[in-house]
């Protein structure tokens, strides 16, 4: 999966407008980064990357890049 594809998936998951997220974006600055976005991210990680994301993993995410790196 390309970085562009990863960002597009994350924008959709966080209900963010297209082109608003970059790898450097801090998650705390993203409006949609709430409890539902975290659950949506779990589903995304499972369906798109075949990975099981737990709450301790999510707590370590600071930027969009951290999530992209986890996506593999």
């Amino acid at each position: 999966m390309t970085d562009q594809e990863k960002i597009a998936l994350l924008e959709e998951a966080f209900e963010a407008d297209e082109g608003t997220l970059t790898p450097e974006t801090e998650l705390d600055s993203v409006d949609g980064w709430g409890s539902m976005a975290k659950l949506t991210l779990i589903v995304l990680m499972d369906e798109e990357c075949g990975k099981t994301l737990k709450s301790d993993d999510i707590k370590k995410f600071v930027t969009i890049k951290d999530i992209m790196d986890y996506m593999g």
Partner: protein
């Protein structure tokens, strides 16, 4: 997976009861901000719940469900030899609430009466335990009662309050010794995750904690006497461990969802239900939902959804898959045949047992 196949016991009746006090979730706009309430309703799918008032407990609701079931089926309480009450919220620290229910229902002393402390998996576990015991005892009928008083253990300042409702249910099991009456089970438990959903104080380990609400790490205000849940990990459990159990169970029993008329599953919230159905590749029309009107009613969510589907309109015999999962962590699946004529409509009650023990 712990597997179990029980022949010669059938489901002979199911009934459910709710408190009369209906709470519309839009009413919470005065506690939380309007946008939070709107979003929570949209994401969880819960529009209303029913909450007990005064001293009414889950056992009062289970009692009314049981009384209704016995009266409708024309069964004398003396015919019941096994009474099991399944609830995570008992009436007293001791004794087991099942004894209070025995007294109220008038079940004689030649019986086996006890509680099981389980939540959302309770209906499947109760069916297995009740049916197993029935086969090896000199009685033909077992009454499995279920109750939940979640509204009492969720902090008033926790938005989870919008999700949970109080309820009671009764399941009547009958020994037929007919080999064609088969109940099949797949069960799992994981104590390493005991604190994914828990109420830390109020038992004997942490008896004297402060009742004052404090802001916790997850942004919810509560005390140690309130319910704590790691929502993220419980979600992961619901959409990974639970479908894995169903796949294992279906593979071991050589069955698929095509062989099942209906799937009655625990109703945690709409987001989990939708994702779980997707994982199971189960069409929504095969899995009735009641999360919108009753909320998450823990162990009662399976029977109350059955009562909601068939209480007012019978559709003859159905092969059903029952799927419960939650606190423990505990999860279980069962295949059973049920005559929908034996499923009663949901009743509302403000009944409350007056024990006379404490008078201020």
């Amino acid at each position: 997976m712990l597997s179990s196949k029980i022949k010669g016991v059938k489901i002979a009746g199911i009934s459910s009861a709710l408190p009369k006090n209906k709470v519309d979730n839009t009413e919470y706009a005065s506690v939380f901000d309007e946008e939070t309430v709107r979003k929570t309703i949209e994401q969880t799918g819960v529009k209303s719940t029913y909450h007990s008032v005064g001293n009414q407990t889950a056992s009062d609701l289970a009692y009314i469900a049981a009384k209704n079931l016995l009266e409708t089926k024309g069964i004398d309480p003396s015919e019941i030899g096994i009474l099991i009450y399944i609830c995570a919220h008992h009436d007293y620290i001791a004794p087991a609430t099942a004894f209070v229910l025995q007294k109220e229902l008038g079940i004689p002393e030649n019986s086996m009466v006890f509680d099981i402390n389980l939540g959302c998996s309770g209906f499947v576990y109760g069916l297995q335990v009740g049916a197993s015991l029935l086969l090896h005892a000199n009685t033909k009928k077992a009454l499995i009662l279920l109750g939940d008083s979640s509204s009492r253990v969720v902090s008033p300042k926790d938005t989870s309050r919008l999700l949970f409702g109080d309820s009671g249910a009764a399941l009547l099991l009958e020994k037929t010794l007919d080999e064609s009456d088969v109940l099949t089970f797949g069960l799992k438990s994981d104590g390493t995750r005991f604190n994914e959903i828990y109420v830390p104080a109020g038992g004997f380990r942490h008896m004297n904690r402060s009742h004052e609400l404090r802001m916790e790490e997850d942004g919810r205000e509560r005390s140690d006497y309130h319910s704590h849940m790691n929502g993220t990990n419980v979600f992961v459990f619901s959409v990974t461990d639970v479908p894995q159990l169903v796949r294992e169970f279906m593979s071991e029993n050589g069955t698929t969802l095509d062989d099942v008329d209906m799937l009655f599953m625990h109703q945690p919230n709409l987001f989990i239900i939708k994702n779980l159905l997707k994982k199971l590749k189960c069409p929504a029309e095969k899995a009735p939902m009641t999360i919108d009107k009753y909320g998450n009613t823990s162990a009662v969510s399976i029977p109350i959804t059955m009562c909601d589907s068939y209480g007012e309109r019978s559709e003859g015999k159905k092969k059903v898959m029952l799927l419960g999962f939650g606190i423990g962590l505990s999860w279980g699946v069962s295949l059973a045949d049920v005559d929908t004529n034996d499923i009663l409509p949901v009743v509302l009650t403000d009944y409350c047992f007056e024990d006379g023990l404490i008078n201020d």
